[in-house]
């Protein structure tokens, strides 16, 4: 691969960081633990979600090593069941759901809309503390007996039969839900009321639209899982009977209530990542996104339709066939807006000026992996096929393609894209490209064989399996070792770059968003003067301040008039 083209005058990395910025404005541990600056809170979240990512990753490593042999001797059955449960709980509730919104969303949304902070900065800090308390309960559960119910907590296994530390875990997830709710509330109000003059809805970056849609799910979905876990916890503690058939309750009711949140939750995990991709592609193709209105609208559509498909997790519980037909049809409908996004992103590349920089590699990797993940969702939504592949490794492969191949790549790609803004420094480009490619290859090797395992019939959550499934399991574990390398590399060089990376300057790429008009890193109050927006999103042509060569490039009318 050749090196990045020579730096552009307006984006020449300066020799020094700005004299005053949000990182050095105040010192001391109290200034961090009691901060109300959205940017510092974002970094607090960065540290905590990374911590939980390590924990979840450690469990995943043990799982894959254990599954190298059919009668894995690494751990006992009981321990294995705890490993996959805790892997799920840590990753879903404490990494995937908060990651992009609480790290990148918190950092960027005020900057992107021209505000000084979120609407409720103290509530923002409270969100982080609630997250920590919830995490504390869950860690307590992990270390005093562990959790072996599956992250789905199905009753009556979780409320009656399990002998693991269910109650503290359920309390921890319950508490953590309020962190999500408050973040969502903050984002919605901020986006409504705090946009700078001229920043109309249809000039908003698509990252903001994505987080608006995500926040709708945060506030409407999370309360339901909160109450569900509360009832399940009470059932366990006081021997009540909401979901226990021996006491007149209904275990299927638990599933309905659980999935009413947990399905929209998966859209919480992917919509922000899609928002990141919608920022990276126009920036690294140096042209407006193709179909702005459709991408914005599809985010809202996914959030709304996503609330009506939950029972596709329950096709085989004995629910009525009419219900199953309805939920299958709706599940196909929810796939369409995602397809629209993929086509629009691809079209944005057409006649672009495409940089091969790391964020673009992550974005394109996302498209490839999300494609597989999303398309395999069509198999699962298909009632006749689901009878065969439900609760097999096919499902495991499907959701890892979306959550890891999609959400995590979006997160890591976003971190790279905005790293200069967050830290003021650039990461080492060559090493970063290698890591991106390693991640992509390792990921596919890990999870593609699992589709085959699933169709062959290997059930999920199995600590031991029939010998005929071994070959694909070994392939998967081999891939996982490469995947792990792909994650470790960025952790190392990103930390290295914070001290030794090249100083980035205001707008190294350059990109068109308002956040790139501020210093890198920005002042605590973001802007010295409240910006007034007169340009459309992703307009590279009418932006002389970017210092690009626009002679001869046709200049067009405002974006949304064409859509």
């Amino acid at each position: 691969m050749s090196t990045t083209p020579a730096a552009i005058p307006s984006a020449t990395p300066g020799n020094t960081l700005p004299r005053e910025h949000y990182l050095n404005a105040t010192y001391g541990i109290r200034s961090w633990l009691l901060t109300t600056d959205h940017k510092r809170i974002a970094l607090l979240y960065l540290v905590s979600v990374t911590f939980f990512f390590f924990i979840g990753g450690a469990f995943a490593t043990m799982i894959r090593i254990h599954l190298l042999t059919p009668n894995g001797y690494l751990v006992t059955a009981e321990t294995y069941n705890k490993l996959f449960t805790m892997h799920g709980v840590a990753m879903i509730f404490f990494f995937l759901i908060p990651s992009i919104p609480a790290v990148l969303g918190n950092f960027l949304i005020p900057l992107m809309i021209g505000a000084k902070d979120l609407a409720f900065p103290k509530i923002n800090l409270l969100s982080w503390y609630i997250y920590l308390v919830g995490g504390g309960f869950v860690l307590y559960s992990f270390s005093t007996g562990g959790l072996d119910t599956g992250w789905t907590f199905y009753t009556p296994l979780s409320s009656v039969y399990s002998n693991s530390a269910v109650t503290p875990a359920v309390i921890g997830v319950f508490i953590n839900g309020f962190s999500s709710i408050l973040t969502g509330l903050n984002f919605i109000v901020t986006i409504h009321t705090m946009r700078a003059p001229g920043m109309t809805w249809f000039r908003l970056p698509l990252f903001v639209w994505a987080h608006y849609a995500t926040s709708i799910i945060f506030i409407l979905g999370t309360p339901v899982i909160a109450i569900t876990l509360l009832l399940a916890g009470l059932e366990r503690m006081l021997h009540l009977g909401f979901f226990n058939p021996a006491l007149g309750g209904d275990p299927i009711l638990f599933q309905h209530l659980f999935w009413f949140y947990s399905h929209p939750a998966v859209y919480i995990m992917i919509l922000p990542a899609m928002g990141v991709i919608s920022e990276i592609i126009p920036t690294f193709a140096r042209k407006p996104i193709f179909g702005y209105t459709f991408i914005a609208g599809s985010s809202i559509a996914i959030a709304v339709i996503g609330f009506f498909v939950w029972a596709h997790h329950m096709f085989l519980t004995g629910e009525s066939a009419y219900a199953a037909l309805t939920f299958s049809l709706l599940s196909y409908l929810v796939a369409i807006p995602s397809a629209v996004k993929v086509f629009n992103w691809t079209s944005t590349l057409y006649k672009g000026s495409i940089s091969w920089d790391t964020p673009m590699l992550y974005a394109l990797g996302f498209i490839g992996l999300f494609l597989v993940g999303g398309l395999t969702g069509l198999f699962l939504a298909c009632l006749g096929l689901d009878i065969h592949i439900h609760d097999t490794y096919f499902v495991v492969a499907h959701f890892h393609y979306i959550m890891v191949g999609g959400a995590v790549m979006g997160y890591v790609g976003g971190l790279h894209f905005w790293w200069p803004k967050i830290t003021g420094r650039l990461y080492p480009e060559f090493l970063a490209r290698i890591a991106a490619v390693t991640l992509f290859i390792g990921f596919n090797l890990t999870f593609f064989p699992q589709f085959i395992l699933g169709y062959l019939g290997m059930p999920r959550r199995y600590h031991s399996y029939p010998p005929e499934f071994q070959v694909f399991n070994v392939m998967s574990t081999a891939g996982a070792s490469i995947l792990a390398l792909g994650y470790l590399l960025p952790m190392i060089y990103l930390i290295w770059s914070m001290r030794y990376g090249r100083v980035a300057g205001r707008n190294p790429w350059p990109a068109t968003g308002l956040e790139w008009q501020t210093d890198s890193p920005p002042l605590t109050e973001n802007f010295d003067v409240t910006p007034e927006v007169t340009w459309e999103a992703y307009d590279f042509v009418n932006r002389p301040d970017l210092g690009l060569d626009v002679k001869g490039a046709p200049s067009l009318a405002p974006a949304h008039g064409d859509d």
């Binding site: 901020t190 409407l220 007149g248 209530l257």
Partner: protein, 217 residues
């Protein structure tokens, strides 16, 4: 710490601050709708599965006390609305009086709730504490009645918790009002806490018929 009525740093104008606060409260209330909604759903489904036992159990809770509480709560919403009006027309003394009345009525509600809970405790109708619906009840009846009471305590308990928080907010409001902080130009906390209080009242308006009024021939 900011004094009530000042422009907070993240906002450009008082209008923006007011708008944000108001939208924030509405969004928060919508999350509460979903929160209570999950339990309402559970209750409704169970009620239609076990109509007889639920009917019997419902008849065993204190309807007169429940009815009084309903009137008390509606009256407290009236006094709350009056306090919002008083703040808007600048009648500071009346504002304080109405807030205090609201707090009193809210406390009466909680007190009566306490009496009801005590009654249930004495009758062994508290799940998890030697629950026994009635002497000679079959295993199934006991189980289904316990389901009713689990939901009864969960729903009214959660509601009462919200009332207690509301009472705490009212105490703060009264203190601020006594300092004369609220004017026709600035009465946001009164408006917002008023919204919250009305919402908690509305939840009770649904709870009361669902729990107390079914199968009362």
């Amino acid at each position: 710490m900011h004094r009530t009525g000042e422009l907070f740093g993240q906002f450009e104008t008082m209008d923006q601050q007011r708008e944000s606060a108001s939208l924030g409260m509405w969004v928060f209330l919508s999350t509460e709708v979903l929160f209570f909604g999950g339990m309402f759903m559970t209750y409704t489904l169970n009620r239609s599965t076990y109509p007889d036992v639920f009917g019997e159990a419902s008849r065993s809770i204190n309807l007169p006390l429940g009815a009084v509480n309903t009137i008390v709560l509606i009256a407290s919403s009236l006094t709350m609305a009056m306090s919002v009006w008083a703040s808007q027309v600048g009648k500071k003394q009346l504002l304080t009086i109405f807030l205090i009345l609201t707090l009193i009525l809210g406390s009466v509600f909680l007190g009566i709730k306490g009496i009801e809970y005590h009654e249930k405790f004495v009758e062994h109708h508290v799940p998890g504490l030697n629950f026994s619906f009635e002497p000679g009840a079959s295993v199934a009846t006991n189980a289904h009645a316990q389901l009713f009471f689990s939901l009864y305590f969960a729903m009214t308990g959660l509601h009462a918790l919200h009332m207690i928080v509301g009472a705490g907010l009212l105490i703060w409001l009264i203190k601020q009002s006594l300092k004369g902080r609220f004017t026709p130009e600035y009465s946001t906390p009164v408006d917002l806490i008023g919204l919250y209080w009305h919402f908690v009242d509305i939840v009770w308006i649904f709870l009361f018929p669902l729990l107390y009024l079914i199968d009362r021939h």
